[in-house]
Structures are given as C-alpha cells and as structure tokens.
Symmetry: C3
Subunit: 270 residues, 3 copies
Amino acid sequence: MGFINNIREKSPLIHFITNYVTVNDVANATLAIGASPIMTDEINDAPDMQNICNALVINTGTLNKNTVVSMIESGKRANELGHVVVLDPCGAGATPYRNEVIKKLMDEIKFDCIKGNISEIKALANVSSKTKGVDASEADQATRKNLKDVFKFAKDLSKATGAVIAITGVIDVIVDKNTAYITDNGCKEMRAITGTGCMTAGVIAASIVANRDNRLEAVLNSIVAVGLSGELAKEYAKGTGSLHIGLIDELSNMTDEKIEKGAKVEKFEI
Amino acid sequence: MGFINNIREKSPLIHFITNYVTVNDVANATLAIGASPIMTDEINDAPDMQNICNALVINTGTLNKNTVVSMIESGKRANELGHVVVLDPCGAGATPYRNEVIKKLMDEIKFDCIKGNISEIKALANVSSKTKGVDASEADQATRKNLKDVFKFAKDLSKATGAVIAITGVIDVIVDKNTAYITDNGCKEMRAITGTGCMTAGVIAASIVANRDNRLEAVLNSIVAVGLSGELAKEYAKGTGSLHIGLIDELSNMTDEKIEKGAKVEKFEI
Amino acid sequence: MGFINNIREKSPLIHFITNYVTVNDVANATLAIGASPIMTDEINDAPDMQNICNALVINTGTLNKNTVVSMIESGKRANELGHVVVLDPCGAGATPYRNEVIKKLMDEIKFDCIKGNISEIKALANVSSKTKGVDASEADQATRKNLKDVFKFAKDLSKATGAVIAITGVIDVIVDKNTAYITDNGCKEMRAITGTGCMTAGVIAASIVANRDNRLEAVLNSIVAVGLSGELAKEYAKGTGSLHIGLIDELSNMTDEKIEKGAKVEKFEI
C-alpha cells in the first residue's frame, strides 16, 4: 500500500544505459528506494539483459556511438517484452549529434516517461518527428505565471509520444494527456550536486514497475521522494558533499508516510 | 606482522579492469587498506601497465568487446610476470555473452582467487571447460545446513582452477583444496550499497600480494576486513549513504587487532 | 572581487574529457566551486560541445583510442575558440602508449595550464618535441632543498609550452616564465583519496576562465582552495571516506577570505 512501499515489496530489477558521471549514485539511489540496478551498454549484452529485468532507463549524458546502438536495441527489446522504459535526454539540444540521437531514440522506442529540464524537453520536442516543434518564444522555465503554456506543451508531447512528461526545474511539472501535477519539493542547493536528475530517473522506473496502474502518480511520487530527500538532508548538511550523502540516506529511509506529510503538490485537470 | 599491516607496509600497486559503476569506491577502498590503484582498459595500454604493477583485478560488471580483449591480454601478461590475478565474475550467468566471456577468461588466465556470489560462481563453473558443470539441484545460497555441499563444489572448483574460491552471501565461504573457512561478518544493510563486492576484490588482490605465503588466509582476512568495516559503520550510519562512507572510513582505520577481535570465522578441514 | 568570487559570479561551463574513476568527484568539485561541468568524449559530440563551453580539461587517466581522438579534436576546437585548456597528464610515463598520447596532445594543443605530479610532468617534458628532455638525475620530489632546480625545469617547460606549470606534491609548485609560487596547503591524508588532483584541474579551469588577467594566480588559488579544503575537512574527518566528503563540503563553502587567511604561499621571482 503506497507507491514507495510497492517498490520495496516488488524490488524491481532496472537495467540502466546511463552516463558514467553519476552512475554510482544512480545505482545507490535505486537500491535506496528498494529496487536493484544493473548496468551494461555492450551491444552483445545489453538487449539480452532485458530478459531478466523489469525496466530500462536510457540516459544520454555521456552517449557514444557504441552505446547509442545498445540504447536502441535494448529499448526495442524492452518494448517487445512490455517493460517500462524511461528516457532522460540528458544534454539534449547541446550538440547536433545529441539531437540526432534523441530523434532516433524517439523514432524507434516507445517510452513510459520522458524526464528532463525544460531546455532538454524542448530540444527533444523540436527534433522528434512525432511533434511539430516548439515555438522559440515559449517559456524557458516553468513558473506559476506560465503554467498554462507549459501544461499545453507537455500535454501535446504526452499525446504524441504516449509517455508521461516530467519537466524538472524550480517547479517540477508532471503531465499526461489529461492531468498535470506540479511540485515544489526539493531545494536550490540540490542544483549544486550532479546526478539528482539521473537518480530520479531510476526511481521513476522502479516506481512505474511497482505501480503500473498509476503511472502518472508513480512518476509524481518519485520526483517528490527525491526532492523531499534533498530537503530533509539540507537540514543537517554542511555543504554539497554531505548534502549528496544525506540525500541517499534520506532516500533509503523514505516512506509513503513521509511523502504524504511532506509533499508539496498541486493537481490540475488539463 | 599481520595481514593488514603487511598491505600497509608493502603498499602494492593494483591494476584494475573493472566496471564503471563502482570504480571510484574500488579505488578509494584500495587506498583505504594501504595499497594503490591504477585503472586502464585500453588494449594499447593495459597489458603494459602490468609491468609496473603487482596484481590485476578483472571485474566483468560492465564489460564490452574492447575491454574484454584488454582483460585477456592483461591477464596473460600478469600470469607471465607471476603477478596476483583476481577474478570477480560480476553478472556471470545473466546473459549468453557474459558466459562466453567468462569461459574465455577461465580458459586463458590462471587466477589466484575467484570471488562472487553463489549464482555467479555456479555460472562460472558451468561454462568453464575446466569443470564438469553444476547440478541444477545444488544449493542456491550457502547456509549452515548445506555447508558440506558448498564446500565440495568450491573445493572441486579450486582444484580445477588452482584458485582460492570465495563465495559471498549471508555466510561467506572461502575454500581451497584442503581447507574451508566461513565468516559471518558484515551486515544485511551492506546489500543496499553497490560495490562492496567490487571493493573486496581489490582488498583481496592487495592482501595476496602482501601475504603470498598465506593466500587462503589473505583472502579470508580481506573479506572479514570489509564485512567488519560495514558492521562498525552500521553502528552510526543514518542510512545507506552514510553507511557507504562509513565503510570506507572504517576500512581506512582497519587493523589486524580489530580483525582479531571482531572476526567471526570458523575453519574446516575438507 | 577575489578569485573564488569571480568563479561563483561568472559560473563558467567546463567541458571535461576525464577518467571514469574520479569523474563524479570532478563534477561535484566543479559545482562546489561555483562552475558547471559537462562530460562527453564521443568524437561526434565532444568538439561541438566546446561551442557552448568556456573551457576544456583533458585528463589522460583512463584514456582509450576513441577518447584520445576526441581529446585532440576538442583541444583544437577549444584553441580556435580561444577557450581555456588544462592538461592533467594522469599516468604519464607509466606506459609507452601514454607517452605517445601525451606527445600528440602536446604537439597539437596549446594549453593554459599543465598540472601533474613531478614524475608525470617530467615524463611529459621528456616526450614533448617542444622540450629537450629531462636529466634523469633531476629531483624526484620538489622539496625546499631543490626548489631552484625545480623552478628552472618548470620555467623552461612554461616557456616552451606557454602554459602555467603546476607540479603537485608535498610542496606544490606553480610556475610561469617569470614567477614561481610554492604552497604548503593540503594534508598527507589527502593522498589516500583518489581524485584530488583531477578535481583540482577542474577548479583550475574554472578559475582561469573567471580570472583571465591573472592566470598564474588563478592556478595558485585553485590549488590552495583544494588543499585548504582538505585541511579543514581533516579536522573532523573520521577516515578517508568522510575526508573525501568533507573536502567537497569545504570546497562548496570556500571563500576568498578563507583563502587569504589559510593560504601558505611563498612567491619567488625566477
């Protein structure tokens, strides 16, 4: 009963093709929330790994031509097996190559959730052949003033892709085709730690596997769980090093009760 | 005098071809126990690195076709030079490719120690042409009830390979052709940290280099040192993040005296 | 006003092609000092990443034939764009391949700073076609007794390369063609943590970007900042794990005032 509890009970096995910068934190965050991680990006190994896993997370942070092939083939295998697939289009928009890769991933794989900051999600929408591109004049940051525009953009992307769209920032926005949530959890100090977004993607994958009938809320609860862990850790952290470790500590102690008490969430029908 | 003290005095240089998930912890654990780590997996570089090192650790966690070639050539070079070689068959049994790689490693390299959980060690025994395979009905976990079976299996594998066999789990089992040790050190919370096994492989390599006349006990003391570090850290850890850091702290403060006091070990002639 | 303050105000974006052992610490140290890191080593991606960055850091720790090509092309692009480029010749001298790579990097890229321990810097000087090699009899460690020799060697290398030369050790030596600084900051326990040198390279790059008119002092202040962070963390660290985390904490709280108060620096005209 409860999203986190379901993860801890079902203990899903999550396969990651993720960047080498934050991979250790991703593994430890996945364990902290009650799931198990396995990392492999070799083409002869990665697609077959889906046979024993429950989900795939693709993160494009330190992509290379070999791992991109593994991302695509593992994604296809995951889709065939009906597994949960999460995309973290890390660095989308930064280079032409990244955009080309993102386009391929979007063309060939069906995702359950696409999570990134607003510039990554916009870059993704611009290159995807499933969407008609983003007006350059659109918001550069989700704020309470432009929520309607952000919801419209995310809802269109969700309809085009079938995925829950999670846009992280000062306010996090989680949207599918009918409903939007915003959350204020987290603290600004978390921006000075690398990998909080990458870790969140792992928690999202575990949460969707364990809560498949409530995909949107599974994503929401994951983002709240990581944000709240950061808030709790901030109370005693002496700097960004101990904030980083405290965040993992709090994630390992996270419960549905803490989320119920600490979540700062608003819901919108869209 | 004493296994840990010998490591700190001789300060061996250990070459790792290891997975990118836990590599930082492996390096820091190796330093914490008094040895020095160097990582390289490029075929033009890795075999030559053996010329200035004392040992090689091969971990197959995030293997790829390039690093596998480096594993084999570095392993051969290490064998030629009479260096200590440790295998951590991380993920053995998970995919056909992993099994194929493990078979090659077993065929081409002579190991001083092979360390893994029981499913990895069984998968390895099944693919190795040096062994006759494992009966599917054999134990899935070493327990006090099936110790005799586990000892027999590990003893046969030790005889076939010439390596000390270390099977980690709730009870750790360390076996060569005549003697078996079991140890109860460690705590269940350590399973929620990635990399404790990978770190242990580095400590094992350093310990064998520094205690070559007592290879079996060198492995035993390494496993006890890491397990005991986890136990000590657990006393003050607030979650898995601080347990992880505490484990490194305790490893850096580990002494032979602490091991003598805290080791939970039983010895068996087999 | 002040070197660290300038980093925090300008928040440079630093592109790293760095080893996978310490990459997470490098990213977190870069954030802690007030800059932003981005890592990519794919040839189709890395040179283009310079278009949105302010600097490049090349670290040869876990080089491979693919990343070496990316190092060279990214370095050339960075030079074309007038960006700051820092070389950390990690492991120079350890194998023939490393020396060959270092030679290529030195031949094709102009560096603002080259930072390493004395054996790395000597190996680099020996292979570079810009220098005439190092006498084998020269100092193996910078000490107060051989400062004059070390200054001469570093000054010649600085003149030949145009780079600030930073030689780290018990005493750190920072030299350009006219001036030398030595600093005593840091503590011996830092040697038991991997990555302090790699982190320093990121801080150096950020500091030069933010303080381009005072390149030599920008490097000096970076080395003092990391050393002082280690000293401050040592006061409460319980072992090498918490020293590691404390170092990041202190770096995230570092100010020019703390440096002014804590720096142990001497200046020499050479």
